[in-house]
Amino acid sequence: MLKFTNTFRDGVGFDTLLVGIALGYLVVFSAFPLAYNLLMSFQDVDLFSLTSFDRPFVGWDNYREILSRPELLPILWNTVKFVGISVIAQLSLGFAIAMFFQLDFPFNTWLRGLFLAGWIMPALVVGAVWSWVLAGDFGVLNHVLSELGLIRANIFWLSDPDVALYSIIFANIWLGVPFNMILLSVGLAGIPEDVYEAAEMDGATRIQRFFTITLPMMRAQLGAVISLGVIFTLQQFDLFAALTQGGPANSSNVFQYWSWQLAFQNYEIGLGSVISVLMIGFVIAVAFVYVRSTRYEQES
């Protein structure tokens, strides 16, 4: 018995078990759903056939169907705006705040900790808070703006088709800044002080130091933050569910929410799967860029 446990612990047995657990987890919880999703995108799936594999294959029909939907282009455009504006704003704000916290001032770490508050809160709570802030009639934001005399009539942040998407983008930026800030802070802290001093001795101004030292040395972190930001933003679901449900009239709808609507509200599960598959393809491309940016961080 002792011999058995020893070979188990020291021999290949234990290693195999560890690898097996990790692999098993990936297969059951990642690979299988992905494959199942891919499969469903080529099938006609309804509520009753959901649990059986024996469903009619429809080839590219689901894909054709999605591509012919009139709402496809507006939603695609919304998604691009949502991801693009969110990531750029999160990144620049996060970077600026991270640089600010590099300075030495009292309560520095304490304040930085506070920034994580939004990150710790459950997404549903965040959604509820923002829906109070942005509510048209009794919202906090409208109240503040009108008290300050900046607006005369209430703005319907969540129900005006021209504004709804940007309201969500705003909330999403708020949500993503702490993550960007923390990751970039770590990167900034990793740049040795004496490298800046050497650059200063070499005659670099503050701005030149930013562009020739800080930015290039932050390449890997920036790559990571951008790719993860894109992925997280594409995953952002709660804000849409809590604030606008994609409305009014799809004016704030994006792919991830549309996919859910199709699959779980209209029960056009095959169509929902098509959108997931397309998004997965995109995310894989982003992940590839991310992996490259971390692997070759020192080169070039």
């Binding site: 050497a198 200063e200 001795m201 070499d202 005659g203 020739t212 040395m217 020192q298």
Partner: protein, 357 residues
Amino acid sequence: MTFQIELDQINKYYGAYHALRDVSLQIPQGQFVALVGPSGCGKSTLLRTIAGLEGISDGRIEIAGRDVSTLAPRERDLAMVFQSYALYPHMTVRKNLTYSLRLKRRKAGEIDTAVEEIARITGLDGLLDRYPRELSGGQRQRVAMGRAIIRDPKAFLFDEPLSNLDAALRVHMRAEIRKLHNRLGATSVYVTHDQIEAMTMADHVVVLRAGRIEQQGAPLDLYDRPANRFVAGFIGSPAMNFVDGVVAGDGRSVQLDLAGAPVLRFAGQRPAGEPVCVGLRPEHLEVGAGRDINRLDLPVGMVERTGAASYVVSDTTPELMIAAPVRVADGARIAVSIAPENLHLFARAGEGLRLNT
């Protein structure tokens, strides 16, 4: 005469901590100055105030006759070699070397010739396209040097540039830096806590303690005539022996607080009965020298043999270290003598100022 670097009554506080106290220093063009002192005495702080990386609380800094006390580092035109080298990790050696020139928007052709020249001087040809992480410690050191030289600055500042190298390479680089200095004729300020480095490299040595200049002068002046006990103990290796004593009735010899109360002659004259601290360098205690006076007969305690020399520690209180060129047996007694002019007398009270002239 205008000096290349002139410090006038520099004071520097970190909060309430007084890091530099009334430091005044004049460095002529082309001089190699070493700042030495124990850890925490303010060597780096002084160097960094010259560089402009630290502000000063009080005083005046002039470089080539221009008051730079409040100017930013980049307006002072000095180059610095850091202990950690502080190379730009994301740039190749070539980019590291040319960084300052590129900031100044020099022409590409001009930059290329400069790089070739520097690579030749520092022995970096063939390594120009490597990244710092692909270099050995010694090669990084050369890049740091090259990056300073290429700028042709008003002066070079070195902060313990060799302390990360192994002993053999350190000795080699020591000679190389000094050769480079002679060749470029530039003014250099060199911080080290290694007094041998300071003594061998510098024209002028400045000994710091607790933010204050204890003594400055040519290396051999410091060795021959240390101004106080601290400098006497700091300069010279192995360190000077100190024994308390009292000036004898003739005012020309001193009675030591050792077993047998030996009396040694010294050069000069002091009041009889004055309590003193006598400094005896280990290498001045000559074994078996045919001298009639100033003999000491000491019991041998421990012997350290390096081959070339033996270091004998006497079995007395306080212990005396003797640098003996011969092989000495343990347990025996050893007879040494010392020339009167090699006895250093310091006051026992206060700063331990030098008493003999």
